[in-house]
Symmetry: C2
Subunit: 359 residues, 2 copies
């Protein structure tokens, strides 16, 4: 595809980025639109992804990329739902089950927690895969079901529908096979376009660092975190980032059904220290972002009190039931299906379990 009414040409766009120049808003728009429509072929997109990987993007380009990717598909409005809607995103790591503890805990404090989650990427288990170990649980909700669950229960977790940020769906698959995933501008575009497509009041970002994380160098994690926050703020969304250590899997278990059980135990007050530390830290940020508490330590006190009240566990049971699952799993763990983590477990970790077996 060479040239069009906008005067852009994909060849020129690739050449410019290859030579280290800034792409204009029109050029980014032309590329994303053309690629999603199938007018720009994968091989040209792959060359551009590698050029972006090696040459980078400045903040203006990343903000444009994110916004344009976000608008490549449907936006999910949460209008008409009372209360502050705050979303949490983790950049992924092994054994991360934070969402299952954090969401009901924060919901118990009056915040609405809507989450669009993903499947497993490589060795990290996906949030949706973990939830599917609960018998009957539906991980893909229609927009009206999504809103109803959020309104009624205070939390909801669903996979994305095809129409939310189709640009990311297509680009991620391409990046995954062309060694261009680990690029900060491309990660920022991918994560933030999906977060911004959901009409929340604020976004809390949990950027993992260390040997068990997506990015192992602290320096890279700090840069990614700052970038994500800047892109969120540039889009006029309250955004708070937290860098958390992940040198080994969080908690005591790795494995879909085991992690669900460990999360339920945490809601019963028996959470491992590392899981609780990260959960409370992120939850406190959500309370601050929602304006419920101004002080981080006070927010933590409030959350600890809420946990003791038993309300978060009740919310989690209602959440399971609302999404078609059997809430009795919270009292009888034998009802959860053991499931294999796609891609297996990376070696050298302590306290690693797969399908109930210690490795």
């Amino acid at each position: 595809m060479e040239g069009n009414a906008s005067g852009c040409s994909v060849y020129e766009i690739i050449s410019k980025k290859r030579d280290g120049y800034e792409l204009s808003t029109e050029e980014i728009q032309f590329f994303i639109t053309g690629y999603v429509k199938g007018e720009i072929p994968d091989y040209q997109a792959a060359a551009l992804m590698m050029a972006i990987y090696l040459r980078g993007m400045n903040q203006r380009e990343m903000t444009d990329l994110t916004r344009i990717m976000m608008h490549s598909g449907d936006l999910i409005s949460l209008d008409g739902i009372d209360g502050k809607k705050i979303d949490k995103h983790s950049t992924g790591g092994v054994g991360d089950k934070i969402s299952f503890v954090l969401s009901p805990l924060v919901a118990a404090c009056g915040i609405k927690v809507p989450m669009l989650s993903g499947r497993s990427l490589g060795h990290t288990g996906g949030t949706l895969d973990k939830l599917e170990s609960i018998p009957g649980f539906k991980v893909l909700l229609q927009p009206d079901e999504f809103k109803k669950t959020l309104r009624d229960v205070g939390m909801v977790i669903s996979g994305q529908t095809e129409n939310v940020v189709p640009a990311d769906r297509k680009l991620y698959a391409l990046r995954d096979s062309t060694a261009t995933v680990n690029s900060i501008p491309l990660i920022a575009g991918s994560i933030m376009s999906k977060k911004l497509a959901l009409g929340t009041d604020g976004i809390i970002l949990d950027v993992k660092t260390g040997s068990g994380a997506f990015m192992s160098e602290l320096e890279d994690s700090i840069e990614l975190c700052k970038t994500l926050v800047a892109v969120g703020e540039n889009a006029n969304r309250t955004t708070i980032g937290l860098i958390t250590h992940m040198d080994q899997p969080l908690g005591n278990t790795v494995g879909n059904s085991l992690e669900i059980k460990e999360s339920i135990e945490a809601l019963k007050g028996n959470g491992p220290a590392d899981v609780m530390e990260v959960t409370l830290g992120l939850s406190a940020c959500m309370l601050v972002a929602a304006g419920i508490e101004k002080n981080h330590n006070k927010a933590i006190e409030k959350l600890e009190k809420a946990l003791k009240s038993g309300k978060p566990l009740e919310i989690f049971k209602r959440f399971i039931a609302a999404q078609g699952g059997d809430p009795r799993v919270c009292d009888d763990y034998s009802l959860a299906f053991p499931q294999q983590i796609p891609g297996g477990i990376p070696g050298g970790k302590k306290r690693v379990y797969l399908n109930n077996q210690r490795l």
Copy 2:
């Protein structure tokens, strides 16, 4: 395509080059073989081409790339043809008609000059396109016709058959649409794999520099020239490179049939000074490479004498006739078809003609 008996994976190969590491011989072999077979998709190849463009290759990698590309298809043996076989290659520029003067001139001195030429690339007219302005001229010869013409006439110019360096055919098309043409390692692999596939005794390289050339910076042209010579020498082929200026089109005319006419005039002793300077310089290198003359200036004297003898013009007529064309075109220029140069003429040049019209 991930992994195989060789232990290579295209994802790993892209990642290594992306991070600036050297690719092993096995990795280059794995990539070229897999890509030619269609087992590695265009988008992975495009990502690798951009990584090579931005990260480069060392001389060992380039020599391997060239040799492996050369062996991706048929080799053209010139065994059984007497005399030294010397090939000339120009990196392209506007208005270059050197081959038509040089080949019969050098053949008149007893050297066999076999050339596999190409079509127009962008704004430069292709050697084959120019020859097609001669009525009846066949630009695509079968291997036996190619050898017969070379043996009988002393020169031959043909397009390449599909089976010569298929890796370049496929990679060039990809590079052309992904802004990865202008990379020295990739240019070296492309040019030298084709030159080496032809069983000559020596290769003379004419690397153009200046605003009318493929590479406009002298520094880049020197690097390219040195690289091409090194790759040729590493493959045990006598290789001599000459950097020639091309700040405006060579000669007085640009246009397929006009350039054929100007070449015939040069063979009659009426060549423009710039065309004759480059032709004699390159031809002298061919005499030196063949061992016919040791001294460049003496070689030039010999060539000037040969030109005056009228023998080169006779050889050119026999060459036209041997390839099915009408040799009377040499005496009656009105027999040549005027043809449009694909892509047009770049602006700002003096003495530029298109279809017999001064622009």
